[in-house]
Amino acid sequence: MANSTDYQKPIPIPDEASKPFFDGAKQHRLMIQQCSSCGTVMWPVKSRCDNCLNANVTWVQASGKGTLYSFALMHQIYHPGFASEIPYNIAEVDLEEGLRILSNVVGCSNNELHIGMSLEVTFEDVTDEVTLPKFKPAG
């Protein structure tokens, strides 16, 4: 685990609403929201189902399997924490549960990225409190 002086990128601050997500990530589980009334899956955190507007929203563990929907390579430095990684990728990942989420693909070079490639979740422990779900080529 990186200690706080090594890790220069911005770090999310878990709040009450997102606690199940960040708690899950710490245990290396990718958590998503699902409506108990209509079954709709949601991202990011919502207080009510964005399909039926009921408040019966629960957290479930996603399989972590998905495919690369699209990707882009960031060539400009918007935050100094990313300066040494330019160009770095950002990725939209289609989870098999039906959600399209933002992340980074790790474990391969940017040249190896291709839309439609199979991905699986992996976890980067950035502090004692915060772990980031990322994706790597499926083994």
Partner: protein, 359 residues
């Protein structure tokens, strides 16, 4: 009953654009409104409606009414529908005028993000302090900043699905630069070649520098009134014949692709139907062009070509001067000035009046 032809754009004010330093957004707004009133031959006291394009400037809110000294308005709002705000403001103004809620309505956009001490690229990307609370902080943790990556992701997907190329996007940038060379208001008037385009640095790959819009200081105001009133004013009236909206949303589920299939399909069809015209009747387009890709996907969704064929459609240069579908004839946000939807709106007014000079 429809608002077709009931209202007209009668005033246009455009301030100096681009690297105009040391002035506030409200100063640009005030000047733009004064220019538009003079252009129309109207007095400030005759204005009874004010629609403010809420944007990233904190000055562009309801308080602008007080800054500008408008009193006893019958219609006032600060509106934001992102890039389509200008178009929707025209709609609400026209509907209000048609219903006798107001008679002379000013629409205004102004912004002053550029300062001498920093580059355009950082103008809108904040102070380096990002809202990191909760899952909304994830995007910054993953390195997603500003508007560029969202459109770059959509463009990359379009390339994958349909074989669209950077050269085809480059054709759009080059076509618009040719128009900008004939526009005295345009910020970028140096010729642009395909080599220049392809050699320009990547901002967010697949976007090169010249795929991305400018950042501008400046202000634009437009005045609408009834078709009846318009007849006695200074400028040739520009009648509002058709309008429509389409807001597809994005629920972040995998069953839809809002970056590929945009709201233009719905809004375009609605507007054409109201106006009673067909696409083949359209001889000039002023489209939102925050990126080259935006032009391409909008042309597809309006139906000028099939979905996925936008790249081939633009690649023969038909959008450029002398082409069969002149598009963004002032240079657009890519080469002229970036005032959100007021960029295509202002150029459309100039063209419809027949005041565009050689272009």
């Amino acid at each position: 009953m429809s608002v077709k032809g009931k209202c007209a754009i009668v005033g246009l004010g455009v301030t100096a654009m681009g690297k105009v330093y040391g002035r506030s957004a409200s100063d640009f707004a005030a000047e733009a409104i004064k220019l538009a009133l003079d252009d129309a031959g109207l007095q400030k006291e005759e204005v009874d409606g004010l629609l403010i394009n809420a944007n990233l400037s904190p000055e562009m809110g309801p308080l602008l009414q007080m800054t500008l000294g408008f009193e006893d308005l019958a219609l006032m709002n600060a509106m934001n529908a992102y890039g389509s705000t200008a178009g929707t403001m025209i709609q609400y103004a026209a509907m209000a005028i048609e219903q006798d809620l107001a008679n002379v309505v000013v629409l205004v956009y102004a912004d002053a993000p550029l300062t001498q001490s920093r580059g355009s690229g950082s103008s809108y990307s904040g102070t380096g302090v990002f809202p990191m609370t909760g899952m909304n902080g994830l995007r910054f943790a993953y390195g997603y900043y500003g508007a560029n990556p969202g459109y770059a992701l959509a463009a990359r997907r379009h390339m994958y699905l349909f074989g669209t190329t950077n050269e085809q996007l480059g054709t759009i940038a080059i076509s618009q630069r040719k128009w900008a060379q004939m526009n005295p208001w345009a910020q970028m008037r140096k010729p642009l070649t395909m080599e220049d385009y392809l050699n320009s640095r990547y901002i967010v790959e697949p976007f090169h520098l010249f795929d991305c819009c400018l950042v501008s200081n400046g202000g634009i105001a437009v005045i609408l009134t009834s078709a009846e009133r318009a007849k006695s004013l200074k400028q040739p009236p520009v009648y509002v014949l058709g309008m429509g909206q389409g807001a597809p949303g994005d629920n972040q589920r995998t069953d839809r692709e809002p970056g590929i299939y945009t709201g233009a399909k719905q809004s375009g069809a609605t507007a054409l139907k109201m106006a009673g015209v067909e696409l083949k009747d359209i001889d000039i387009c002023e489209l939102y062009d925050c990126y080259t890709y935006t032009v391409l996907v909008t042309l597809e969704d309006y139906g000028f070509c099939q979905k996925g064929e936008g790249g081939a459609f633009v690649s023969d240069g038909k959008l450029a001067p002398g082409g069969s579908l002149p598009t963004n004839t002032g240079g657009g946000q890519l080469s002229s000035y970036y005032m959100w939807g007021f960029t295509p709106l202002s150029e459309a007014v100039v063209q419809a009046r027949g005041q565009a000079g050689e272009r």
